[in-house]
């Protein structure tokens, strides 16, 4: 009995030590992500200055000031890819979002720096965004289920997905 308790304790300690903290990190390089979105050739990077109404809309979605005056994106005729940072709790999460014809084609967490909330990197969560579009009030046209213990990360990824849709729409209408 004592042996069993000791083994359980060792197992639990091991999980606590190697679990959450071990999962944070850089999962995908930006270049690899872009090659997964644009299978043939990655188009040259373009930049979009965030000014006026566009900036106001972005900051309204974020709920705070956007750090930076310019964002970088890659686009061909139908698809655009955005690599953006958003704070989960204290540190930025780097998120790649691909938008095709006004709907999300792919969401991927490229880098996660905090010790909690890294579960947002898994497909069971990111797959929920597939085909999502911007609805009224710049919200997504569907409900994204949260993850217990990762609420702030879930919210950060959702905000970035909305912003990518907004920016795609802006680029598509101004081109």
């Amino acid at each position: 009995m004592l042996q069993r308790i000791a083994l359980s304790l060792i197992f639990a300690t091991g999980l606590a030590a190697a679990g959450p903290a071990g999962e944070a990190g850089r999962y995908v390089e930006a270049d690899d992500y872009l090659h997964s979105v644009f299978v043939a050739d990655v188009p040259a990077a373009q930049t979009l200055w965030l000014t006026g109404d566009l900036r106001e809309n972005v900051e309204s979605i974020l709920g705070h000031r956007f750090s930076g005056l310019r964002v970088r994106y890659w686009a061909d005729e139908a698809t655009s890819a955005w690599i953006l940072d958003e704070i989960g709790k204290e540190l930025p999460i780097t998120i790649g979002v691909a938008v095709a014809n006004g709907a999300i084609a792919d969401v991927e967490v490229l880098e996660f720096r905090e010790s909690r909330g890294w579960e947002v990197r898994y497909p069971f969560f990111t797959d929920q965004f597939a085909d999502a579009r911007l609805g009224p009030d710049q919200t997504l046209d569907r409900r994204i289920d949260g993850i217990t213990g990762a609420t702030m990360s879930v919210d950060a990824v959702t905000r970035i997905a909305r912003i990518a849709l907004l920016l795609h729409e802006h680029v598509a209408t101004t081109d």
Partner: protein, 255 residues
Amino acid sequence: MNTSQPPTNGHKRGRRWFRRGHRWIGLSLVVFVVYLSASGIVLNHAGDLRLESRYVSWVWLLDAYGLQVPDPAASFSDAGHRSTLLGERLFLDGRDTGQRESTLTGIAALGPLVLIGGEQHVYLFTADGEFIEAIDLGSSFAGPIERVGRTGDSAVLQSGGHLYRSDADVALFESWDDAIVDHWSARTPPDAGEMQALEVAWRGKGVTAERLVLDLHSGRLFGRAGPFFMDLIAVLLIVLSLSGLVMYKFRNRRK
């Protein structure tokens, strides 16, 4: 019938020591009782006193909080702009940019823009110091950025022995064979005035008065031993209360 026995000499001596102990503990705790009561009252009214929005920036106090300014890891200047790396915080013209870097490789003043080179990122600012964009060049270059320079209004970066030149908007970097670079960024130490501005920027506003009073009250301001010392004071206060009760009981019994 009175069953109580007259106290022996041993009992009398014991009571005398007990009274002395009680008295000395009481006297030695006077300062701490006043200290804890006063700081407790202030904390109770922290909201009314708006302590959370008042800042204290005494240098010795910030040093006690571990906010000592590190020596600059690297510092570069170009055309009146200076970039300095303190710890992992990147500063431009004496202001914290909010960007984190492990290595500073140079600065290039490009007319209305200022570019700061990190290990695999470059950071772009307006000439007024407003952050524009951080560009990750890790997957585009052969290795870490080694040097930062400029030619005309274009930034030039050296990585893995190769040169890369930016376009006019500093949006893209392309391999560049023409090795004529107008200016390479070189390390220069900040002067006394610049260092003073960096120290002020590093420390920021300081700590809130609420945090200071809270840490004084709990003893945390005095390092790791502080809370344990306050625990000891609390234990002595408990001992004082109990010894007071015991003495009160003895006195009543004698009556």
